[in-house]
């Protein structure tokens, strides 16, 4: 298949790589219909994130159609349309059960390395550093989704790819940033950065704030 492949600083290439295959019984394979470039992909592009390796397939905002499921997958069927969250979730560990999905204790296959560096590991993440599992990303024709039962968002009929794609990262990221502020009616909220997450945060602050709240400021990052 074709994919965007990281080689070194400012060197991401469109190349042919092996098609992903079912490796564990909980895996699914997605045929990617739409994907996006995230601001945090630029941190990889600029080589500011340690533990990338030449040949890594990048991308963590993607959606598409399920084309294959492993024997252990019970919640997904071939042909279903899904957005894939950038965080890989087992749905069974203590952190997943607490709703702390970005801290899944089972999905980072390089957990010992991350534990050593950060004290405790994050979840496995798609298309990012080997500290977060080194999973191939979704700027590609196909994507292997580990722990597929917990790592998908089903798309309701009638919504376009463009309407739902950002459920996988930047919309909930802006949303969580706003919700964690616990905005009160008289608050002023200032947002640094007018990129995609900043834009989602502005709207999330407006939608999630108590009635009649209307103040927000934003600081473009130029």
């Amino acid at each position: 298949m074709k994919a965007l492949v990281w080689h070194k600083k400012e060197d991401i290439r469109y190349e042919t790589v092996p098609d992903p295959e079912i490796e564990e019984e909980g895996d699914a394979i997605i045929k990617v219909s739409t994907c996006a470039i995230c601001g945090s992909d630029l941190h990889l592009f600029h080589n500011f994130i340690p533990a990338m390796k030449p040949g890594d397939v990048v991308g963590h905002e993607m959606m598409g159609e399920v084309v294959e499921v492993g024997r252990g997958v019970t919640k997904l069927k071939k042909g279903e349309r899904v957005v894939i969250p950038f965080t890989i979730n087992c749905d069974e560990c203590d952190q997943c059960r607490r709703g702390n999905f970005s801290l899944c204790e089972r999905s980072n296959r390089n957990k010992p390395l991350a534990d050593k560096l950060f004290g405790h590991s994050t979840a496995g993440l798609f298309g990012y550093t080997h500290l977060t599992g080194g999973y191939a990303g979704g700027q590609a024709e196909y994507l292997r989704v580990p722990f597929a039962d917990g790592t998908h968002i089903k798309v309701p009929d009638g919504l376009s790819d463009e309407q739902v794609l950002f459920l996988g990262d930047i919309f909930p990221t802006g949303w969580q940033a706003a919700v964690q502020c616990e905005i009160k009616r008289t608050d002023t909220v200032a947002i640094w950065g007018a990129g995609p997450v900043g834009q989602m945060a502005v709207r999330s602050a407006i939608i999630s704030a108590p009635g009649r709240w209307s103040r927000s400021t934003i600081f473009p990052s130029g």
Binding site: I37, F45, P50, T87, G150, E182, T217
Partner: protein, 165 residues
């Protein structure tokens, strides 16, 4: 794009962020501050940002934290600092004393995506928000490498790129 949502906008390269925020809040400072920038802050006219950049280049520090310093300084005492921006490692000259004395609450982390997505999917279905507003560029996957540069350079008003494999 942000102004279209009904917010005031501040351009840090043309005006003082701290003065404008003071003006907008009658000197109180914003109650809640969100860092949607992360480790590659570009406020290069500030001395602390130049020092961060030098340390980053010489591997003496991982992150450029001008935005976090500015938020700690300007945030109203008792306020909240919320950090969706990505940071990776160690930093220097971090005003932890200022943050402690002002009683600031820190919230940060990678996003717990699925904690929010049932609710957000419903909001999209009901038409409360259409996140596609942010898309400025669409291209094929083959054009992806070039689009990384377009996005990085904010060429042609680029805010968000989607790719079709």
């Amino acid at each position: 794009m942000a102004a279209a949502a009904g917010s005031e906008t501040i351009n840090f390269s043309e005006e003082s962020v701290i003065e404008r925020l003071d003006d907008l809040t009658d000197g109180k400072g914003p109650d809640k501050c969100i860092d949607a920038v992360g480790l590659e802050a570009h406020a290069s006219s500030h001395i602390d940002s130049l020092m961060d950049r030098a340390k980053q280049m010489t591997m003496m520090a991982n992150d450029r934290v001008h935005v976090l310093r500015e938020m700690i300084y300007v945030c109203r005492a008792g306020g909240v600092i919320s950090v969706p921006g990505v940071y990776s490692g160690l930093v220097d000259k971090f005003p932890i004393g200022m943050s402690m004395q002002k009683g600031l609450t820190w919230r940060m982390g990678q996003t717990h995506v699925r904690r929010w997505t049932d609710d957000l999917t419903r909001r999209i279905e009901e038409g409360e928000i259409d996140p596609s507003f942010v898309i400025t560029h669409e291209a094929s996957l083959a054009e992806g490498p070039g689009m990384y540069r377009t996005f990085r350079n904010k060429q042609d008003g680029c805010v968000k790129v989607v790719l079709k494999p």
